[in-house]
Symmetry: C2
Subunit: 217 residues, 2 copies
Amino acid sequence: MSKPKPQAQQSRASETRKRTRIQQEKEDLILEAALDVFANHGFRGATIDQIADQAGLSKPNLLYYFKSKETIHRQLLDRLLDNWLQPLRELKADGDPVSEIKSYIRRKLELARDYPRESRLFANEILQGAPRIDEELSDLKVLVDEKAKIIRSWSEAGYLKKFDPHHMFFAIWATTQHYADFDAQVQVVLGNVGQGDGRFEDAARFLDQLFVEGLAP
Amino acid sequence: MSKPKPQAQQSRASETRKRTRIQQEKEDLILEAALDVFANHGFRGATIDQIADQAGLSKPNLLYYFKSKETIHRQLLDRLLDNWLQPLRELKADGDPVSEIKSYIRRKLELARDYPRESRLFANEILQGAPRIDEELSDLKVLVDEKAKIIRSWSEAGYLKKFDPHHMFFAIWATTQHYADFDAQVQVVLGNVGQGDGRFEDAARFLDQLFVEGLAP
DNA sequence: GTAATCTTTTACCGACTGGTAAATTTTATT
DNA sequence: AATAAAATTTACCAGTCGGTAAAAGATTAC
Protein backbone atom coordinates (compact mmCIF):
# COMPACT_ATOMS: atom_id res chain seq x y z
CA MET A 1 0.00 0.00 0.00
CA SER A 2 1.13 3.54 -0.63
CA LYS A 3 1.60 6.55 1.58
CA PRO A 4 -1.40 8.75 2.40
CA LYS A 5 -0.73 10.85 -0.70
CA PRO A 6 1.14 14.07 -0.01
CA GLN A 7 -0.92 17.04 -1.18
CA ALA A 8 0.32 17.87 -4.66
CA GLN A 9 2.58 20.84 -4.19
CA GLN A 10 1.36 23.86 -6.04
CA SER A 11 2.60 27.39 -6.36
CA ARG A 12 2.52 30.28 -3.95
CA ALA A 13 -1.14 30.93 -4.65
CA SER A 14 -2.36 27.97 -2.64
CA GLU A 15 0.53 27.04 -0.44
CA THR A 16 -0.98 27.47 2.98
CA ARG A 17 -4.12 29.61 2.95
CA LYS A 18 -7.47 28.61 1.58
CA ARG A 19 -8.22 29.19 -2.08
CA THR A 20 -9.76 32.39 -3.38
CA ARG A 21 -12.56 32.43 -5.91
CA ILE A 22 -10.15 33.26 -8.73
CA GLN A 23 -7.79 30.49 -7.71
CA GLN A 24 -10.57 27.93 -7.82
CA GLU A 25 -11.69 29.06 -11.24
CA LYS A 26 -8.28 29.33 -12.79
CA GLU A 27 -6.98 26.08 -11.41
CA ASP A 28 -9.96 24.23 -12.81
CA LEU A 29 -9.50 26.02 -16.11
CA ILE A 30 -5.86 25.01 -16.25
CA LEU A 31 -6.52 21.39 -15.35
CA GLU A 32 -9.20 21.17 -18.00
CA ALA A 33 -6.88 22.59 -20.65
CA ALA A 34 -3.99 20.43 -19.48
CA LEU A 35 -6.08 17.27 -19.65
CA ASP A 36 -6.80 18.01 -23.27
CA VAL A 37 -3.21 18.71 -24.17
CA PHE A 38 -1.64 15.86 -22.18
CA ALA A 39 -4.17 13.35 -23.52
CA ASN A 40 -3.46 14.30 -27.10
CA HIS A 41 0.30 14.74 -26.96
CA GLY A 42 1.63 12.85 -23.95
CA PHE A 43 3.66 14.38 -21.14
CA ARG A 44 6.73 15.16 -23.17
CA GLY A 45 4.77 16.22 -26.22
CA ALA A 46 2.74 18.73 -24.26
CA THR A 47 4.12 22.21 -23.67
CA ILE A 48 3.24 24.71 -21.00
CA ASP A 49 2.68 27.33 -23.67
CA GLN A 50 0.12 25.09 -25.33
CA ILE A 51 -1.73 24.50 -22.08
CA ALA A 52 -1.59 28.18 -21.20
CA ASP A 53 -2.92 29.13 -24.63
CA GLN A 54 -5.79 26.71 -24.38
CA ALA A 55 -6.62 28.00 -20.92
CA GLY A 56 -6.44 31.59 -22.13
CA LEU A 57 -3.59 32.51 -19.80
CA SER A 58 -0.01 33.59 -20.20
CA LYS A 59 2.66 31.05 -19.35
CA PRO A 60 3.94 32.86 -16.25
CA ASN A 61 0.38 33.33 -15.11
CA LEU A 62 -0.22 29.60 -15.40
CA LEU A 63 2.96 28.93 -13.47
CA TYR A 64 1.62 31.18 -10.76
CA TYR A 65 -1.01 28.53 -10.08
CA PHE A 66 1.02 25.37 -10.68
CA LYS A 67 4.70 25.50 -10.05
CA SER A 68 5.64 23.12 -12.84
CA LYS A 69 4.40 21.08 -15.74
CA GLU A 70 4.87 17.94 -13.71
CA THR A 71 2.71 19.27 -10.87
CA ILE A 72 -0.22 19.69 -13.23
CA HIS A 73 0.30 16.26 -14.71
CA ARG A 74 0.50 14.59 -11.37
CA GLN A 75 -2.64 16.26 -10.09
CA LEU A 76 -4.52 15.10 -13.18
CA LEU A 77 -3.35 11.54 -12.66
CA ASP A 78 -4.29 11.61 -8.99
CA ARG A 79 -7.82 12.75 -9.75
CA LEU A 80 -8.14 10.32 -12.61
CA LEU A 81 -7.06 7.15 -10.88
CA ASP A 82 -9.56 7.57 -8.11
CA ASN A 83 -12.49 7.81 -10.52
CA TRP A 84 -11.05 5.19 -12.78
CA LEU A 85 -11.04 2.49 -10.13
CA GLN A 86 -14.53 3.19 -8.87
CA PRO A 87 -16.30 0.60 -11.06
CA LEU A 88 -13.96 -2.08 -9.80
CA ARG A 89 -14.57 -1.13 -6.19
CA GLU A 90 -18.29 -1.53 -6.83
CA LEU A 91 -17.93 -5.16 -7.86
CA LYS A 92 -19.60 -6.90 -4.92
CA ALA A 93 -19.11 -10.46 -3.74
CA ASP A 94 -22.77 -10.84 -2.76
CA GLY A 95 -24.18 -9.95 -6.16
CA ASP A 96 -25.05 -12.28 -9.01
CA PRO A 97 -21.75 -13.18 -10.70
CA VAL A 98 -22.81 -12.68 -14.31
CA SER A 99 -24.71 -9.47 -13.53
CA GLU A 100 -21.79 -8.07 -11.58
CA ILE A 101 -19.40 -8.70 -14.46
CA LYS A 102 -21.86 -7.32 -16.98
CA SER A 103 -22.28 -4.16 -14.91
CA TYR A 104 -18.56 -3.80 -14.56
CA ILE A 105 -18.05 -4.01 -18.31
CA ARG A 106 -20.85 -1.58 -18.92
CA ARG A 107 -19.44 0.93 -16.46
CA LYS A 108 -15.95 0.68 -17.89
CA LEU A 109 -17.30 1.18 -21.38
CA GLU A 110 -19.23 4.22 -20.24
CA LEU A 111 -16.05 5.66 -18.78
CA ALA A 112 -14.29 5.14 -22.10
CA ARG A 113 -17.16 6.87 -23.89
CA ASP A 114 -17.57 9.77 -21.46
CA TYR A 115 -13.98 10.31 -20.40
CA PRO A 116 -11.77 9.39 -23.34
CA ARG A 117 -9.17 12.01 -22.49
CA GLU A 118 -8.68 10.53 -19.05
CA SER A 119 -8.28 7.11 -20.61
CA ARG A 120 -5.65 8.36 -23.01
CA LEU A 121 -3.83 10.22 -20.27
CA PHE A 122 -3.56 6.97 -18.37
CA ALA A 123 -2.64 4.98 -21.47
CA ASN A 124 0.13 7.42 -22.30
CA GLU A 125 1.54 7.05 -18.84
CA ILE A 126 1.50 3.25 -18.85
CA LEU A 127 2.91 3.10 -22.37
CA GLN A 128 5.95 5.05 -21.25
CA GLY A 129 6.51 2.59 -18.44
CA ALA A 130 4.42 4.32 -15.77
CA PRO A 131 7.35 6.41 -14.49
CA ARG A 132 5.16 8.73 -12.46
CA ILE A 133 2.51 6.39 -11.04
CA ASP A 134 4.26 3.30 -9.74
CA GLU A 135 2.87 4.06 -6.30
CA GLU A 136 -0.73 4.25 -7.47
CA LEU A 137 -0.29 1.06 -9.47
CA SER A 138 0.54 -0.90 -6.35
CA ASP A 139 -2.73 0.33 -4.85
CA LEU A 140 -4.37 -1.01 -7.97
CA LYS A 141 -2.73 -4.39 -7.49
CA VAL A 142 -4.15 -4.72 -3.99
CA LEU A 143 -7.63 -3.93 -5.24
CA VAL A 144 -7.37 -6.28 -8.20
CA ASP A 145 -6.09 -9.14 -6.07
CA GLU A 146 -9.01 -8.66 -3.75
CA LYS A 147 -11.56 -8.71 -6.55
CA ALA A 148 -9.79 -11.59 -8.30
CA LYS A 149 -10.40 -13.60 -5.18
CA ILE A 150 -14.12 -12.97 -5.50
CA ILE A 151 -14.15 -14.01 -9.13
CA ARG A 152 -12.22 -17.16 -8.32
CA SER A 153 -14.66 -18.08 -5.57
CA TRP A 154 -17.51 -17.68 -8.04
CA SER A 155 -15.64 -19.91 -10.44
CA GLU A 156 -15.13 -22.58 -7.86
CA ALA A 157 -18.76 -22.42 -6.79
CA GLY A 158 -19.73 -23.18 -10.38
CA TYR A 159 -21.23 -19.80 -11.23
CA LEU A 160 -18.53 -19.18 -13.80
CA LYS A 161 -16.18 -21.22 -15.94
CA LYS A 162 -12.68 -21.90 -14.62
CA PHE A 163 -10.17 -19.28 -15.68
CA ASP A 164 -7.51 -16.92 -14.39
CA PRO A 165 -9.37 -13.85 -13.07
CA HIS A 166 -6.42 -11.54 -13.62
CA HIS A 167 -6.49 -12.17 -17.33
CA MET A 168 -10.22 -11.58 -17.31
CA PHE A 169 -9.61 -8.12 -15.90
CA PHE A 170 -6.92 -7.45 -18.48
CA ALA A 171 -9.35 -8.45 -21.21
CA ILE A 172 -12.09 -6.21 -19.87
CA TRP A 173 -9.77 -3.24 -19.48
CA ALA A 174 -8.26 -3.76 -22.90
CA THR A 175 -11.52 -4.13 -24.80
CA THR A 176 -13.31 -1.22 -23.17
CA GLN A 177 -10.45 1.27 -23.09
CA HIS A 178 -9.62 0.39 -26.67
CA TYR A 179 -12.55 2.52 -27.82
CA ALA A 180 -11.05 5.58 -26.15
CA ASP A 181 -7.34 4.95 -26.64
CA PHE A 182 -7.45 3.69 -30.21
CA ASP A 183 -10.31 5.89 -31.30
CA ALA A 184 -8.38 7.10 -34.35
CA GLN A 185 -8.10 3.53 -35.59
CA VAL A 186 -11.65 2.57 -34.65
CA GLN A 187 -13.01 5.54 -36.56
CA VAL A 188 -11.12 4.68 -39.71
CA VAL A 189 -12.02 1.00 -39.60
CA LEU A 190 -15.71 1.56 -38.91
CA GLY A 191 -15.90 4.37 -41.44
CA ASN A 192 -18.44 7.10 -41.20
CA VAL A 193 -21.36 4.75 -40.69
CA GLY A 194 -22.87 4.83 -37.24
CA GLN A 195 -20.66 7.62 -36.05
CA GLY A 196 -22.98 8.59 -33.23
CA ASP A 197 -23.70 6.73 -30.05
CA GLY A 198 -24.67 3.69 -32.09
CA ARG A 199 -21.04 2.74 -32.07
CA PHE A 200 -20.93 2.38 -28.34
CA GLU A 201 -24.18 0.48 -28.28
CA ASP A 202 -22.75 -1.95 -30.83
CA ALA A 203 -19.62 -2.33 -28.77
CA ALA A 204 -21.62 -2.87 -25.59
CA ARG A 205 -23.72 -5.54 -27.27
CA PHE A 206 -20.68 -7.35 -28.61
CA LEU A 207 -18.73 -7.24 -25.37
CA ASP A 208 -21.73 -8.39 -23.36
CA GLN A 209 -22.13 -11.38 -25.62
CA LEU A 210 -18.42 -12.15 -25.70
CA PHE A 211 -17.88 -12.08 -21.96
CA VAL A 212 -21.15 -13.60 -20.86
CA GLU A 213 -20.94 -16.55 -23.22
CA GLY A 214 -17.20 -16.76 -22.75
CA LEU A 215 -17.22 -16.77 -18.98
CA ALA A 216 -20.57 -18.16 -17.86
CA PRO A 217 -20.64 -21.96 -17.57
CA MET B 1 -6.51 2.65 -51.09
CA SER B 2 -3.24 4.50 -50.80
CA LYS B 3 -0.59 5.51 -53.26
CA PRO B 4 2.17 2.99 -54.11
CA LYS B 5 4.25 4.23 -51.21
CA PRO B 6 6.93 6.75 -52.14
CA GLN B 7 10.35 5.49 -51.13
CA ALA B 8 11.10 7.06 -47.77
CA GLN B 9 13.46 9.90 -48.51
CA GLN B 10 16.78 9.44 -46.80
CA SER B 11 19.96 11.40 -46.76
CA ARG B 12 22.63 11.83 -49.38
CA ALA B 13 24.11 8.44 -48.58
CA SER B 14 21.39 6.52 -50.36
CA GLU B 15 19.74 9.04 -52.59
CA THR B 16 20.34 7.50 -55.95
CA ARG B 17 23.02 4.83 -55.93
CA LYS B 18 22.78 1.43 -54.31
CA ARG B 19 23.75 1.03 -50.67
CA THR B 20 27.28 0.30 -49.58
CA ARG B 21 28.10 -2.27 -46.92
CA ILE B 22 28.56 0.43 -44.29
CA GLN B 23 25.29 2.07 -45.20
CA GLN B 24 23.41 -1.18 -44.76
CA GLU B 25 24.97 -1.82 -41.37
CA LYS B 26 24.58 1.68 -40.00
CA GLU B 27 21.03 2.11 -41.23
CA ASP B 28 19.98 -1.11 -39.53
CA LEU B 29 21.81 -0.05 -36.39
CA ILE B 30 20.01 3.28 -36.36
CA LEU B 31 16.59 1.80 -36.98
CA GLU B 32 17.11 -0.70 -34.19
CA ALA B 33 18.11 2.03 -31.76
CA ALA B 34 15.32 4.30 -32.92
CA LEU B 35 12.73 1.58 -32.44
CA ASP B 36 13.81 1.27 -28.86
CA VAL B 37 13.71 4.98 -28.17
CA PHE B 38 10.50 5.75 -30.04
CA ALA B 39 8.68 2.82 -28.44
CA ASN B 40 9.63 3.95 -24.96
CA HIS B 41 9.22 7.70 -25.30
CA GLY B 42 6.94 8.37 -28.26
CA PHE B 43 7.83 10.52 -31.24
CA ARG B 44 7.99 13.82 -29.41
CA GLY B 45 9.63 12.32 -26.35
CA ALA B 46 12.43 10.77 -28.36
CA THR B 47 15.47 12.85 -29.24
CA ILE B 48 17.95 12.38 -32.04
CA ASP B 49 20.78 12.57 -29.53
CA GLN B 50 19.26 9.69 -27.60
CA ILE B 51 18.92 7.55 -30.72
CA ALA B 52 22.44 8.44 -31.85
CA ASP B 53 23.85 7.58 -28.42
CA GLN B 54 22.11 4.22 -28.37
CA ALA B 55 23.37 3.48 -31.87
CA GLY B 56 26.89 4.52 -30.91
CA LEU B 57 27.03 7.34 -33.44
CA SER B 58 27.31 11.09 -33.28
CA LYS B 59 24.21 13.07 -34.10
CA PRO B 60 25.51 14.52 -37.38
CA ASN B 61 26.69 11.09 -38.36
CA LEU B 62 23.21 9.69 -37.80
CA LEU B 63 21.74 12.54 -39.84
CA TYR B 64 24.06 11.55 -42.64
CA TYR B 65 22.03 8.36 -42.99
CA PHE B 66 18.56 9.69 -42.28
CA LYS B 67 17.82 13.26 -43.11
CA SER B 68 15.45 13.83 -40.22
CA LYS B 69 13.89 12.36 -37.10
CA GLU B 70 10.63 12.01 -38.95
CA THR B 71 12.24 10.02 -41.75
CA ILE B 72 13.43 7.41 -39.28
CA HIS B 73 10.07 7.27 -37.60
CA ARG B 74 8.21 6.88 -40.85
CA GLN B 75 10.46 4.11 -42.07
CA LEU B 76 9.93 2.22 -38.82
CA LEU B 77 6.17 2.55 -39.17
CA ASP B 78 6.26 1.42 -42.79
CA ARG B 79 8.21 -1.71 -41.92
CA LEU B 80 6.07 -2.38 -38.90
CA LEU B 81 2.65 -2.13 -40.48
CA ASP B 82 3.48 -4.64 -43.14
CA ASN B 83 4.48 -7.29 -40.60
CA TRP B 84 1.71 -6.31 -38.26
CA LEU B 85 -1.05 -7.04 -40.74
CA GLN B 86 0.36 -10.37 -41.88
CA PRO B 87 -1.65 -12.52 -39.45
CA LEU B 88 -4.86 -10.90 -40.64
CA ARG B 89 -3.98 -11.53 -44.28
CA GLU B 90 -3.51 -15.19 -43.41
CA LEU B 91 -7.07 -15.56 -42.19
CA LYS B 92 -8.54 -17.74 -44.94
CA ALA B 93 -12.15 -18.13 -45.93
CA ASP B 94 -11.77 -21.82 -46.70
CA GLY B 95 -10.43 -22.81 -43.29
CA ASP B 96 -12.36 -24.00 -40.27
CA PRO B 97 -13.88 -20.86 -38.71
CA VAL B 98 -13.00 -21.56 -35.10
CA SER B 99 -9.49 -22.76 -35.97
CA GLU B 100 -8.87 -19.73 -38.13
CA ILE B 101 -9.87 -17.37 -35.36
CA LYS B 102 -7.86 -19.30 -32.80
CA SER B 103 -4.78 -19.15 -35.03
CA TYR B 104 -5.27 -15.47 -35.59
CA ILE B 105 -5.43 -14.79 -31.86
CA ARG B 106 -2.39 -16.95 -31.25
CA ARG B 107 -0.36 -15.17 -33.92
CA LYS B 108 -1.34 -11.75 -32.67
CA LEU B 109 -0.37 -12.73 -29.14
CA GLU B 110 2.96 -14.02 -30.38
CA LEU B 111 3.59 -10.70 -32.07
CA ALA B 112 2.84 -8.89 -28.82
CA ARG B 113 5.26 -11.19 -27.00
CA ASP B 114 8.05 -11.12 -29.57
CA TYR B 115 7.73 -7.57 -30.85
CA PRO B 116 6.50 -5.46 -27.99
CA ARG B 117 8.42 -2.41 -29.12
CA GLU B 118 6.71 -2.46 -32.48
CA SER B 119 3.37 -2.72 -30.73
CA ARG B 120 4.12 0.26 -28.54
CA LEU B 121 5.40 2.28 -31.48
CA PHE B 122 2.07 1.70 -33.17
CA ALA B 123 0.09 2.36 -30.01
CA ASN B 124 1.88 5.65 -29.47
CA GLU B 125 1.04 6.74 -32.97
CA ILE B 126 -2.64 5.85 -32.72
CA LEU B 127 -2.94 7.40 -29.27
CA GLN B 128 -1.78 10.74 -30.65
CA GLY B 129 -4.43 10.55 -33.32
CA ALA B 130 -2.40 8.75 -36.00
CA PRO B 131 -1.10 11.97 -37.55
CA ARG B 132 1.56 10.21 -39.59
CA ILE B 133 -0.21 7.06 -40.76
CA ASP B 134 -3.68 8.01 -41.94
CA GLU B 135 -2.80 6.60 -45.34
CA GLU B 136 -1.76 3.21 -44.02
CA LEU B 137 -4.86 3.07 -41.85
CA SER B 138 -7.11 3.26 -44.88
CA ASP B 139 -5.26 0.25 -46.30
CA LEU B 140 -6.04 -1.45 -43.01
CA LYS B 141 -9.72 -0.63 -43.36
CA VAL B 142 -9.88 -2.30 -46.76
CA LEU B 143 -8.28 -5.43 -45.39
CA VAL B 144 -10.48 -5.51 -42.31
CA ASP B 145 -13.66 -5.01 -44.32
CA GLU B 146 -12.66 -7.90 -46.53
CA LYS B 147 -12.01 -10.22 -43.60
CA ALA B 148 -15.11 -9.01 -41.77
CA LYS B 149 -17.11 -10.25 -44.73
CA ILE B 150 -15.63 -13.71 -44.27
CA ILE B 151 -16.47 -13.73 -40.59
CA ARG B 152 -20.00 -12.60 -41.30
CA SER B 153 -20.49 -15.34 -43.85
CA TRP B 154 -19.34 -17.88 -41.29
CA SER B 155 -21.81 -16.39 -38.85
CA GLU B 156 -24.67 -16.64 -41.29
CA ALA B 157 -23.75 -20.21 -42.17
CA GLY B 158 -24.09 -21.09 -38.50
CA TYR B 159 -20.43 -21.75 -37.81
CA LEU B 160 -20.30 -18.84 -35.41
CA LYS B 161 -22.71 -16.87 -33.27
CA LYS B 162 -24.20 -13.70 -34.72
CA PHE B 163 -22.14 -10.62 -33.92
CA ASP B 164 -20.52 -7.60 -35.50
CA PRO B 165 -17.18 -8.80 -36.91
CA HIS B 166 -15.55 -5.40 -36.64
CA HIS B 167 -15.98 -5.38 -32.91
CA MET B 168 -14.57 -8.89 -32.78
CA PHE B 169 -11.41 -7.62 -34.42
CA PHE B 170 -11.22 -4.70 -32.03
CA ALA B 171 -11.53 -7.12 -29.12
CA ILE B 172 -8.79 -9.37 -30.46
CA TRP B 173 -6.44 -6.48 -31.15
CA ALA B 174 -7.11 -4.92 -27.78
CA THR B 175 -6.66 -8.06 -25.70
CA THR B 176 -3.51 -9.26 -27.42
CA GLN B 177 -1.72 -5.94 -27.79
CA HIS B 178 -2.59 -5.11 -24.21
CA TYR B 179 0.19 -7.42 -23.05
CA ALA B 180 2.75 -5.39 -24.97
CA ASP B 181 1.34 -1.88 -24.63
CA PHE B 182 0.31 -2.06 -20.98
CA ASP B 183 3.15 -4.29 -19.88
CA ALA B 184 4.06 -1.97 -17.03
CA GLN B 185 0.59 -2.39 -15.58
CA VAL B 186 0.40 -6.11 -16.28
CA GLN B 187 3.67 -6.68 -14.49
CA VAL B 188 2.57 -4.82 -11.39
CA VAL B 189 -0.82 -6.52 -11.23
CA LEU B 190 0.52 -10.02 -11.78
CA GLY B 191 3.40 -9.44 -9.41
CA ASN B 192 6.64 -11.31 -9.68
CA VAL B 193 4.99 -14.69 -9.91
CA GLY B 194 5.23 -16.37 -13.27
CA GLN B 195 7.39 -13.68 -14.72
CA GLY B 196 8.71 -15.89 -17.52
CA ASP B 197 6.86 -17.24 -20.53
CA GLY B 198 4.23 -18.69 -18.23
CA ARG B 199 2.49 -15.36 -18.39
CA PHE B 200 1.95 -15.58 -22.08
CA GLU B 201 0.79 -19.16 -21.87
CA ASP B 202 -1.76 -18.15 -19.26
CA ALA B 203 -2.91 -15.30 -21.46
CA ALA B 204 -3.16 -17.58 -24.48
CA ARG B 205 -5.21 -20.09 -22.54
CA PHE B 206 -7.58 -17.44 -21.25
CA LEU B 207 -8.07 -15.72 -24.60
CA ASP B 208 -8.62 -19.03 -26.38
CA GLN B 209 -11.32 -19.92 -23.92
CA LEU B 210 -12.91 -16.47 -23.98
CA PHE B 211 -13.14 -16.16 -27.73
CA VAL B 212 -13.95 -19.75 -28.58
CA GLU B 213 -16.75 -20.03 -26.05
CA GLY B 214 -17.79 -16.47 -26.69
CA LEU B 215 -17.99 -16.73 -30.47
CA ALA B 216 -18.66 -20.37 -31.34
CA PRO B 217 -22.35 -21.27 -31.39
C1' DG C 1 49.33 4.68 -55.48
C1' DT C 2 46.21 7.95 -56.41
C1' DA C 3 41.96 9.91 -57.35
C1' DA C 4 37.17 9.77 -56.38
C1' DT C 5 33.89 8.72 -53.27
C1' DC C 6 32.04 7.72 -48.88
C1' DT C 7 32.13 8.43 -43.85
C1' DT C 8 32.90 10.89 -39.63
C1' DT C 9 34.00 14.79 -36.71
C1' DT C 10 34.05 19.56 -35.15
C1' DA C 11 31.86 23.64 -34.61
C1' DC C 12 27.92 25.78 -34.85
C1' DC C 13 22.83 27.96 -35.22
C1' DG C 14 18.19 29.48 -34.57
C1' DA C 15 13.94 27.94 -32.50
C1' DC C 16 11.80 26.28 -28.64
C1' DT C 17 11.48 24.64 -23.88
C1' DG C 18 10.53 24.99 -18.83
C1' DG C 19 10.97 28.26 -15.69
C1' DT C 20 12.11 32.96 -13.03
C1' DA C 21 12.42 38.05 -11.51
C1' DA C 22 10.37 41.93 -10.90
C1' DA C 23 7.34 45.46 -11.93
C1' DT C 24 2.41 46.43 -12.76
C1' DT C 25 -2.45 45.97 -12.39
C1' DT C 26 -6.47 44.20 -10.25
C1' DT C 27 -9.18 42.63 -6.34
C1' DA C 28 -10.60 42.29 -1.64
C1' DT C 29 -10.70 44.31 3.09
C1' DT C 30 -11.43 47.92 6.03
C1' DA D 1 -10.41 55.98 -0.14
C1' DA D 2 -6.47 53.64 1.46
C1' DT D 3 -4.00 49.66 1.71
C1' DA D 4 -2.61 45.01 1.72
C1' DA D 5 -2.86 40.94 -0.84
C1' DA D 6 -3.62 38.59 -5.05
C1' DA D 7 -3.23 38.29 -9.95
C1' DT D 8 -1.09 39.39 -14.32
C1' DT D 9 2.30 41.10 -17.58
C1' DT D 10 6.82 42.10 -19.42
C1' DA D 11 11.24 40.86 -20.06
C1' DC D 12 14.28 37.52 -19.73
C1' DC D 13 17.48 33.15 -19.26
C1' DA D 14 19.91 28.89 -19.57
C1' DG D 15 19.42 24.42 -21.47
C1' DT D 16 17.86 21.47 -25.10
C1' DC D 17 16.15 20.57 -29.56
C1' DG D 18 16.48 19.34 -34.63
C1' DG D 19 19.40 20.29 -38.07
C1' DT D 20 23.57 22.28 -41.12
C1' DA D 21 28.32 23.59 -42.99
C1' DA D 22 32.52 22.39 -43.85
C1' DA D 23 36.60 20.17 -43.32
C1' DA D 24 39.14 15.98 -41.98
C1' DG D 25 39.53 11.08 -42.26
C1' DA D 26 38.66 6.45 -44.20
C1' DT D 27 37.36 3.32 -48.27
C1' DT D 28 37.00 1.95 -52.65
C1' DA D 29 37.90 1.62 -57.65
C1' DC D 30 41.16 1.91 -60.98
